[in-house]
Symmetry: C2
Subunit: 390 residues, 2 copies
């Protein structure tokens, strides 16, 4: 038996999405730029999908720009917006718990002459909107705050950030990749100007994503060519991928309420049981304002990597830190931002649940993890020292 | 009956490629950055595909960078190389017959302070390597010459350009999208430093491509994030797409010789018959150094767009100008570069053949096009005026 609880790193494509995509590989393969029948058909499909996806976030179809995924969307949102609006100011605000791509883009912008403020968070990984307001200067042109943490699952007060940014005339970007499919997204209600969503995070194929660009926002393209997507993203459109993402949206709109309810139940069972059965264990992230699929738990005096490998032997797949940095030795910048020491951050496991999990997966983790922690702690000099001290 | 002869705009994915991709959507969906079994499996698949694709162009696996397609590869090659090597010089040479993406990237670089020379071509669309040499200055850092024209099919003397660039210590990029699958590619023999190839142009899925970056070349990334692809292209890898491109390469390596022979036969039949049966018709592009699948024919005193629409009524799909500019009223920059007047360029049709064409498709065009041209010319005031003059 094998249990996958790392939906944040990668999601299987929903079989209904695969079925919807299939005809667009070989039979309906036209280029929307062509004048013949195959081209017209591709144009129609492209615009239908754009409309479906716009509806998912309460945007207009012409505010939807197809990209190759979330990293590209984030790059265009930050670099494209900042470079285009440099005459208005040179200051950007992000939070300390942003996805690694936002952090690396921010470093790139600093090299390019921009100033970046990194807003600290509380012990749960949550920003404070008053503190955010205090960082705004007349030079601030862009605020980028992720909808929810892709690591610890903490949900940010996005509508409040949106109201503040709109009031101050500052552009507001949000990376909603961790939140999409778990929280209803509404760019109008939340007053978001630029929004990143990906296809795979709602069980669509990889290699496709969207940047929502509110009407009137001026953004430079990053990938330059034939002028597709209103000049904001050149390259022949990946129609099969776009159809897949659109189908993923359709399914999600229908099933999200039920799915979130089910995942919340699994998540709570998992958190409650792990904390109860494993001594010296703690929940990372916010206890209430938390993604429905996220259980991020820290175990004292133990290495997350050893835990992952031991779980692997039991057929359980989970993550330590974020997917992007699992293969580095650096502790998660998000956990450090919440005030954890390096050695505390290292002993964390991230379980993220998804559509194809069942109760049996949760039970399996609850069954196998406590003895693993006990066994590993027995081998840990650090733990022995701690035990002696208490 | 319906005949598609616009393979340059878009190609159907080979059914064997679809079959190879399918398991990577739902069953084997891991993220190579993960530490668990699904992640390890994805890493292995990724590196196997990298090796297969490297073999296709005689490169080393770690010289293969996966991108979202040719437009992105071209953007990274030109903007990424130029911005990283600005200290060496500010001059770039392209040809007048490059793909629209190279032209638009060149304009972007000019705005950014670089100087761009656009090398003219002869009446067949071919560059002259002596003329190229005369354009080189001590400030020249990059030469970008497409392997073959995506419009008129003319093949460039790539090995000569490579030898010249290497001798002068100038980086050489070639967009090989129109040539791949029709001409064997060898980056070592041709002394190419940066090469763009796409997946769809060899019957793989859209949304995936490669930039070959020769070892030791220093290039800035354009899409910034988690540091995948040696930092040159961030974003979770699109494994299904990569598997598809790799399978497309495998098939092409086996079948290319036979396929090129077959397509050359179709092409020659098509060109010979159209020129013979339609008065005042001319071949665009080179008569010999020409892609095996390209028949680009010009008809005096007629509009390409009317021809496309009339062919469409007969179930034949073709292109006027290039796929990228079919929906604009501007005449093809490539045809203008070969010395044609605007009104001459407008009367052109591009037929590009491919894997799923049969002799019947060629016969169909030869049957339906001559009466279409005759009918349209009867309606054309321009043609009547010409006839009176002759």
């Amino acid at each position: 038996m094998s249990s996958y609880l790392d939906y944040q790193s990668s999601k299987p494509v929903d079989p209904r999405v695969i079925e919807a995509m299939l005809p667009y590989f070989h039979e309906h393969f036209g280029n929307p730029s062509s004048l013949h029948g195959e081209g017209d058909e591709a144009t129609k499909v492209l615009e239908d999908c754009r409309q479906t996806i716009a509806g998912f976030i309460n945007a207009e179809p012409d505010e939807i720009i197809f990209t190759s995924g979330a990293t590209e969307s984030n790059t265009v949102a930050l670099i494209g917006y900042a470079s285009r609006n440099r005459d208005k100011g040179d200051h950007i605000i992000i939070s300390e718990v942003e996805h690694i791509s936002i952090h690396n883009i921010a470093k790139y912008l600093e090299k390019d002459g921009f100033k970046v403020s990194r807003l600290p968070v509380d012990q749960y990984g949550k920003i404070n909107v008053q503190k955010l307001a205090s960082r705004i200067t007349p030079q601030t042109i862009l605020i980028s705050i992720g909808y929810a943490s892709n690591e610890i699952g903490t949900i940010q007060p996005i509508a409040e950030v949106g109201a503040l940014a709109r009031e101050k005339g500052i552009a507001f970007h949000s990376d909603a990749v961790a939140a999409e499919g778990l929280i209803p997204l509404d760019v109008k209600k939340d007053q978001i100007d630029l929004l990143t969503i990906s296809s795979n995070d709602i069980y669509g194929p990889k290699g496709i994503g969207v940047l929502y660009v509110r009407k009137g926002m001026r953004v430079n393209p990053v990938i330059i060519g034939g002028g597709q997507e209103r000049g904001l993203r050149s390259g022949t459109e990946n129609i099969a991928g776009i159809v897949g993402m659109s189908k993923a949206v359709e399914i999600m709109r229908k099933e999200m309420t039920e799915e979130v309810k089910r995942l919340t139940g699994y998540r709570d069972t998992l958190i409650k049981n792990l904390l109860a059965r494993i001594p010296k264990s703690h929940l990372n992230g916010h206890p209430i304002d938390r993604l429905a699929n996220n259980a991020h738990v820290r175990f004292e005096a133990i290495e997350g990597e050893s835990l992952i490998l031991a779980l692997r032997d039991e057929g359980v797949s989970a993550a330590t830190g974020s997917a992007c940095s699992s293969k580095t030795l650096e502790p998660s910048h998000t956990l450090i931002s919440t005030g954890l020491l390096h050695e505390e951050a290292h002993g964390s496991l991230e379980f993220t649940l998804g559509r194809f999990n069942t109760e049996a997966d949760v039970d399996r983790v609850i069954e196998v993890l406590p003895p693993i922690v006990e066994r590993l702690r027995k081998l840990s000099p650090l733990y022995k020292a701690e035990e002696m001290a208490t």
